[in-house]
């Protein structure tokens, strides 16, 4: 029976489990894209990460004498594990997702006080941890659409069936100009580019759905993508032989994944809408700078971590004006009293 009531209606705020379920749902297109391109290894990584995330969270919560059941079912730990797993190479050995997720949940999240208290994005901190510790295992991706040859096991994988990601290949093009680089399929197979384009499309679909559902706001993704595109367009326009095009920056690596799922993290990012915009712009600039002149294949993790450092300062300068007398302010906003 349909019952109608006149306004005013009271809103039911969305709760954590629901938001987290929506995020998981939005990740599906990207995960499907990754699985088609790089094989079921992604699914294995996902499973390992999710189980590790739950076990670690439960263990630490018990150590800290916190209620285990309620926190476990809010899904935040599982989402952290998933976000890390989709950033890992599909043929990573099993201990990579396990160790990384343990680090993400135990060190980056729980040691800082649990949900809502972590100054750094757990998934990105764990990714940086893994990338610094195991650079070889973290940069071996299987050749796309040929994973049935590569098999499941990392140890069986020969060099012949692994390939550099587009960003990595472009960075190591050496003395070649970009035009020469694109004409040499042994450096970067067209399949690899195509695979990453499909994956990026998957993340974009999920991200747009999240925007439509108002789980995330547009400021951070738009800020990040526009800063990245502007910088890339400028350098590409000045010297197209040595710099990658904006499109290339959009569709390779974790650009779109981070734009919609990482930069929009409500905990470790900036708080106000304007702050989120600046946060996104900062990430976009840093991603371009580190990708182009840095030492690591992808820059998203480092860019996000660096901007996490800056988030309190951004918050301090982008506080919305408060009319009337001030409400009780918590956490970082206590900086008010500081001169």
């Amino acid at each position: 029976m349909l019952s109608l009531f006149a306004a005013p209606h009271s809103h039911v705020p969305r709760r954590m489990p629901q938001v987290m379920r929506q995020v998981m749902f939005a990740m599906l297109p990207g995960i499907i894209g990754l699985t088609i391109a790089f094989g079921p290894g992604i699914l294995v990584n996902l499973l390992l990460s999710m189980v590790t995330a739950l076990l670690t969270e439960a263990w630490i919560l018990r150590l800290r004498h916190r209620p285990v059941g309620k926190t476990l079912t809010d899904g935040s730990a599982v989402v952290t594990g998933m976000l890390l797993a989709v950033a890992l190479p599909a043929i990573a050995p099993w201990w990579i997702p396990v160790l990384g997720t343990f680090f993400a949940v135990a060190v980056t999240k729980q040691l800082f006080g649990g949900l809502g208290q972590n100054p750094f994005n757990p998934a990105m901190a764990a990714y940086a941890f893994l990338l610094i510790s195991f650079p070889l295992e973290m940069s071996l991706w299987p050749q796309p659409f040929e994973w049935h040859i590569a098999g499941f096991s990392w140890y069986e994988t020969a060099d012949a069936v692994t390939g550099a990601t587009p960003l990595d290949a472009f960075r190591h093009k050496g003395m070649l100009t970009a035009e020469e680089f694109w004409q040499q399929p042994q450096l970067l197979s067209p399949d690899m580019v195509l695979a990453w384009e499909w994956v990026a499309l998957g993340w974009a679909l999920g991200g747009v759905w999240l925007l439509w559902q108002r789980v995330i706001h547009w400021q951070a993704p738009v800020g990040m993508l526009s800063a990245l595109s502007l910088l890339a367009a400028f350098f590409y326009g000045v010297d197209p032989s040595h710099y990658a095009s904006p499109w290339f920056h959009w569709v390779s690596g974790a650009t779109l994944l981070s734009a919609f799922f990482i930069v929009t993290d409500p905990v470790s990012g900036a708080t106000s809408r304007l702050g989120q915009c600046f946060f996104g712009i900062g990430v976009g600039i840093l991603v371009y700078v580190i990708r182009t002149w840095g030492n690591y294949p992808d820059a998203v993790a480092f860019a996000v971590l660096l901007m996490n450092f800056a988030a309190p300062t951004i918050d301090y300068y982008t506080r919305p004006r408060v009319h009337g007398h001030r409400k009780a302010q918590r956490g970082l906003k206590q900086k008010d009293s500081a001169p």
């Binding site: 060190v107 941890f129 610094i132 510790s133 195991f134 650079p135």
Partner: protein
């Protein structure tokens, strides 16, 4: 100087007021060079000797330096001791000197040394200052060694590798391979230093809490005795 004060200075320097774990002074070299035991030992010994020397010297001149210029004077004294240590290391352990590099001259800026000179040595007789220097230096050295050992084992799976740099040829076979073929690069890099250091500080706080709890329990039972007897007679 009485026996108890030596004991107090020792407990203070090694545990309760440990320069690395409690005062958190001198963290820059502490975190930067503790990638292996030998590096930690080298820097720890250099710091220890500078600390003792500076403490004694500062204590000797304490009546002749006006307060207004005491800090520049202390820094000059510390700098000369550091130069001595640097030249000695250059002469006897040249390869270790090269590995430690800039962190040897940077001992001058180690706040633990200036802190002890100003807070303790400039107000105490020479013997007390010397003991304090030794104990503080040993406390610093101990933390360096533990950090170095943990990071070396977790980072590259070995213990005491390269001790020949400090002890000459016959120390070559001291190396213990704890894990074969093990590399956890992050433990050797600066983040590993921060992680290990914070875990050590947490451990020290846990131990202190346990000690306090045990003390409280002991004093409670002492005080509780009479009342319980009363209750029994009831």
């Amino acid at each position: 100087m009485s026996q108890t004060s030596v004991r107090e200075l020792a407990i203070n320097g090694l545990w309760h007021n440990n320069p690395a774990l409690v005062q958190l002074l001198g963290l820059c070299p502490l975190l930067a060079v503790t990638g292996s035991v030998v590096n930690a030992l080298g820097l720890g010994l250099a710091t220890l000797s500078v600390l003792v020397g500076a403490n004694v010297a500062v204590s000797l001149i304490r009546h002749h330096v006006p307060t207004s210029v005491r800090l520049p004077a202390f820094v000059m004294i510390i700098a000369s001791f550091v130069t001595c240590a640097e030249l000695l290391m250059q002469a006897y352990t040249y390869s270790l000197y090269q590995i430690l590099g800039i962190f040897i001259p940077l001992i001058v800026t180690n706040c633990a040394i200036l802190g002890r000179a100003d807070a303790f040595a400039s107000r105490q007789p020479v013997s007390a200052a010397a003991v304090d220097g030794i104990m503080m230096g040993l406390g610093f050295l101990a933390v360096l060694l533990v950090l170095g050992a943990i990071r070396e084992v977790l980072g590259q799976g070995t213990l005491f590798s390269g001790m020949a740099l400090l002890f000459g040829e016959y120390a070559k076979h001291w190396q213990i391979n704890v894990f074969a073929d093990w590399h956890l690069l992050i433990m050797i890099l600066p983040p590993g230093a921060f992680f290990t250091m914070s875990v050590l500080i947490a451990l020290k706080n846990i131990i202190d809490q346990q000690l306090k709890k045990r003390q409280a329990a002991v004093s409670n039972t002492v005080h509780a005795q009479p009342s319980r007897r009363v209750r029994v007679t009831d």
